[in-house]
């Protein structure tokens, strides 16, 4: 119970900071909409209908938007030296990690919903039969992404390279998420039933599980001094 409360307090703190400054959400949201506009001109629509590549565009946009937000997970606290305070608090370090993950997940969920709305509008996507299935696919993918991203954001914030190191560490590990996520999204956008992508959902679940478990276990080694 107290553990959940400790996680909750971190989540609450991060979300309050985010609501008051709007820094990360606004940059991620602006990025998502602008990238949608740029994709409209970048894709040769005379040869490739943009609906055919929409799944790829959605996933890559989420990953890049996520990098903007995740990279700054610990930035504010590192700048103000406030992270020492959090580490000195009685909350165990894995609770701090889980709190950060949940808060980042909420931010990215907002961005994901915005992405679905904006891309649906821009590219006339038909979420038709299974919008919930698509939300499940994106949600599971984002959970894994956010967990690994939060862990490696802590690592890269501790280096002299800061956020520039994050993609080098993170991108090689994202292959399972991108592959299983994008193929499932493709199938759903083609109007396939959710039953057809259950294998992909299981793989995304496994990826999320590995990401959350390894992050929770290893985070304390990243932040200990």
């Amino acid at each position: 119970m107290t553990y959940l409360r400790q996680v909750g307090i971190i989540v609450w703190k991060d979300l309050v900071v985010e609501v008051r400054t709007g820094e990360r959400t606004l940059s991620m949201a602006g990025f998502t909409v602008l990238v949608g506009i740029l994709f409209n001109y970048a894709v040769n629509q005379a040869r490739v209908p943009i609906q055919d590549v929409a799944a790829a565009l959605m996933w890559m946009t989420l990953v890049f938007a996520g990098m903007l937000g995740l990279g700054r997970t610990f930035q504010l606290e590192a700048e103000e030296g406030a992270f020492q305070g959090i580490l000195l608090s009685p909350a165990p370090k894995d609770a701090v990690f889980l709190g950060k993950v949940v808060a980042n997940f909420v931010l990215l969920a907002v961005v994901t919903l915005l992405l679905m709305a904006v891309f649906g509008l821009f590219f006339q996507l038909d979420y038709g039969q299974s919008p919930l299935g698509l939300l499940g696919v994106l949600g599971l993918g984002m959970l894994g992404f956010v967990s690994l991203g939060t862990l490696f954001a802590a690592v890269s914030t501790g280096t002299t390279m800061k956020e520039t190191l994050l993609p080098i560490l993170l991108f090689p590990l994202l292959v399972p998420m991108i592959y299983f996520g994008a193929t499932a999204t493709n199938a759903l956008l083609d109007g396939r039933p959710v039953a057809e992508i259950s294998g992909n959902l299981r793989m995304l679940g496994a990826f999320a599980l590995v990401a959350v478990a390894s992050g929770t276990t290893l985070f304390r080694f990243v932040v200990e001094e």
């Binding site: 862990l151 690592v155 090689p172 590990l173 793989m203 390894s214």
Partner: protein, 233 residues
Amino acid sequence: MASPIKWRALTAGIAGVVGIVVLHWMVFFWVPTEATMGVIQRIFYIHVPAAWVAFMAFGVVALCSAIYLWLGDERLDMMAVSAAEGGMVFTTVVLLTGPLWGKIAWGTYWVWDPRLTLTLLLWFIYLGYFMVRAATESPERGKRFAAVVGIVGALDIPLIHLSVVWFRSLHPGPVVLKPEGPSLHPQMLATLLTGFGVFTVLFFSLMAYRFGLERARRAAAARAAGRLRPAGA
């Protein structure tokens, strides 16, 4: 510094170099030419053992990293970094020999073949491992960060493997470790097994040398730090 590790490294190094010569003799003069792919298939005896060592090295890195985080013994970190450097060399060998073979066998240098892709990703995970180490001001922190990168990389590799396999495969299937027994010509099998043995020995000798170097380097750094300290401290 005639420490046992140095002698062991030297013995293994000599055995490895002799082995490499023998292996190349077998590859070029002894083993028969493969019927469909022709001469280019001989690169197989370098390519496959190098891939084996690259992935085994990463296993060593992950294992040493995990125990390092658990026990905090400096030597385990030195072993991990030595194995990672050796692993990166052999990963590069795989990435250089694979496209050469692919150009002849598949007609193109690069295809999104699962094992080739997995090796390329492994190379980038190794890269991250070294960049994290290089980009930290405190060495202690660099060791912990690198260990975390090594462990998470190793945990993710099975999932990456599944995704690249499902993506598509042109790669020749297993020819040695399969239920009905090896399907290779005995001379080919002997050459391949020699390759596995030689590359493994060579890897461990390089790792032992690198370990000795790392230890000497850290000892020198510690001595230098000691000299800077005021007398009596």
